[in-house]
Symmetry: C2
Subunit: 435 residues, 2 copies
């Protein structure tokens, strides 16, 4: 891992929008599903997932869900239940209520908060199938009160059941009971527009490959989508109180995700920088995913030595990382200066995997510098708000002239007249008398 | 206005994405601004707005802002101040605090809420320049605590100052003091990427023409954007207690916006349907914007007669209108059944213009059926959240094995080792001793 001065560090951001061919393919898949429904869905599943299904086989049965439990270790079930308890407790604190402001003249203003009605969660297949991500997508929707949560996930090539039992158990533990074995752009299109077998949803979330990402972008507007996640990132901001072996292990836990993942140490301590570089090399050597992690740290990793901890915070704020660990003498004292970071881990025991799996906060966090304006997935992502206006007659008579003044300045006489007709009619004795 | 049965009513939704040529033009403008900065910005302003400016003339001066007050009526200033008071009071209720959950073992979990740092508000020129929209975009950002709010608006063709004084006064009253006379896709690109004269922002909001909408879509990801608004819509759900003249006036207040605007009455009362149809025709005849409103009601308006009020609510929920008026014997009694509506106006005195200008709730509301999953602009649109995890040593020792179990089931050994190295080291006497 290269150690460099903050002077020589230049921030790079790439956003993947797919090739023109990929975009064209996705557009065509989405249009075909919209037009042909199940028939197209089954055809694409055969073509892309090499799995021949009938429409009635699309949905995972209660028996299959039950059977999945016998295919996983009890220790896994125990662990995922413990994680679910923590994730529920954290997200329950985010739940908000509708409110009303009752005014002395009888006017009521308010904000009504309601859950979305139906949400679709995409779960990738293969090695990118993470049971923990099932919990992180489903539980906030549940806490929000979404009554219908549906999951789609591609069948393993060639099989019929073919869904990872860990994923099925996580879904069952999270409380999802509507699961379809479809994946790719065709699954996203089915969720957005509905088919004979799958009713359309209001929002689609969850990660996927480039085709899934492009399909989500394509259907956005017809339904809501979550953000399109980029490669995972960690920045560790540390002073010389940090244990180099811990820092190195945390950097590698991010680097092992993906050759595109980024792991960066920012420190004012040259000696910490050197020790972490050595520790990374030492720990890399017997990591099962060494090749991935090595490519990640070599191409996207960095150890940046700053003049001061303060300058380190400035670097962090420019990076706006998905995950930030602050390992310093007084991490809480630095919190006020950290403007941009999706999730902030403080102190030597808050290793990133604690948050990835267990502590309770969501592990779906804005990447690629978008923590400047975006937030981790939470209950707010699964609600919608409506404004409420119940204006009293007294209030309208009082405010009517002012409202008309503003409408007329904007050249909207029809707006003014909607008020005027009421003021005139009420002066004549009220709506009850008609005109 | 045509009266039809709910059986014959079919919902249509169109989303405008621009022509391929418009998309190409916008892509080119955005790329050029990104590369050439001010020079390109001035060139495009000359080309599209026929206004020759130097870089130092881009920003509106404090003297111009002051001078705008002498060009508007005192009654306007009074009215806009009264509206601003109400809008501030309503949005202040949406402000949320960071929170922490302190656990007995010393662990702290939390959610940090911070304002975005810099927000850009686009204000269209010409007849679409609405002072009220300036308040509706700026005040929620202010309440959120955004320290830098910057406005862009195209100069009137040929002039140098050339900005509508009502817009300038609204901006000054809202507290915006950084205003640039640029518009179109070039202004959006300047806000997103910055130029020598305009520092880049974190989020761009506000309405504009198709070029502005496409430019916002193009820069999304580099910065956040608000939603792309469609034509305005009103649905009035009324029973026979409604005053036909009021209902007709409210429908027309929406129809006068735009030939694409949609005004729909849903009622179980055939007699109300007939009276409103007659009233609409009567009121249309002497409306200044008759041509616009007539085109709107003829092409996008409808009076839908339902079997019952309950069926009317179902129609409303399918329409998911931007604005919904409920004029019925007991409007509050229907509120619980209304699932999808951006803003809900209850009772005979809650005419839509009351909310457009004055009551306090935001008038930027999801259109085109997106109230199924989207919400009116509010303080939440100008904040970002960060998760906080301060795990205690005791908690890590307790939960470490469970976290490792979950990491290993996902094949992420590096994640497990980040925990394991701590557990092993702490067993040996803690981080203080090193390895």
């Amino acid at each position: 891992m290269k150690v460099k001065s903050s002077k020589d560090f230049k921030l790079q951001r790439d956003v993947e929008y797919g090739t023109p061919e990929q975009n064209e393919t996705v557009k065509q898949i989405v249009a075909t599903i919209k037009k042909e429904g199940d028939a197209a869905l089954l055809r694409y599943t055969e073509q892309f997932d090499r799995t021949v299904l009938t429409a009635t086989e699309l949905r995972v049965t209660p028996e299959e869900l039950q059977a999945a439990y016998s295919q996983v270790e009890d220790s896994f079930v125990t662990a995922i239940r413990a994680a679910a308890v923590n994730i529920r407790a954290f997200h329950a604190r985010q739940k908000r209520s509708s409110w009303m402001d009752l005014q002395p003249d009888g006017t009521i203003l308010g904000q009504i908060i309601r859950p979305l009605k139906r949400v679709g969660v995409y779960v990738p297949g293969g090695t990118a199938a993470y049971p923990s991500s099932v919990l992180m997508n489903v539980i906030p929707a549940q806490i929000a009160g979404v009554p219908e949560i549906v999951m789609v996930t591609p069948p393993a090539t060639g099989g019929k059941a073919g869904i990872d039992p860990y994923i099925l158990v996580a879904a069952a533990e999270a409380g999802v009971n509507e699961i379809y074995r479809v994946g790719g752009a065709q699954a996203v299109a089915a969720l957005a527009f509905g088919t004979e077998s799958i009713a359309p949803v209001d929002k689609i979330c969850g990660p996927g490959n480039i085709y899934v990402a492009l399909a989500k972008r394509e259907v956005y507007g017809a339904v809501d989508i979550d953000s399109i996640a980029g490669p995972s990132e960690i920045v560790v901001l540390a002073d010389d109180t940090a244990e180099p072996a811990y820092v190195a292990a945390d950097l590698l836990s991010q680097a092992e995700h993906d050759t595109m993942a980024s792991a960066i140490l920012v420190t004012p301590s040259q000696s910490l920088a050197d020790s972490v570089a050595a520790e990374v090399e030492r720990q890399l050597r017997d990591l099962p995913r060494e090749a991935v992690a090595r490519a990640s740290v070599e191409n996207h990793g960095a150890i940046i030595v700053t003049e001061s901890l303060q300058e380190g915070i400035e670097v962090v704020n420019r990076l706006a990382p998905e995950h930030l660990e602050v390992v310093a003498a007084d991490p809480m004292g630095l919190l006020g200066s950290i403007e941009n970071a999706g999730a902030i881990f403080l102190g030597p025991y808050s290793s990133e995997p604690v948050g990835d799996y267990f502590a309770g906060p969501n592990h779906i966090i804005p990447t690629n510098g978008t923590a400047r304006f975006a937030s981790p997935v939470d209950v707010d992502d699964f609600i919608k708000k409506s404004s409420l206006i119940y204006y009293s007659k007294e209030a309208l008579l009082r405010d009517g002239e002012t409202i008309m003044e503003l409408a007329r300045r904007e050249g909207l006489e029809g707006h003014a007249r909607a008020i005027q007709i009421r003021l005139e009619n009420e002066a004549k004795g009220g709506a009850e008398d008609g005109e």
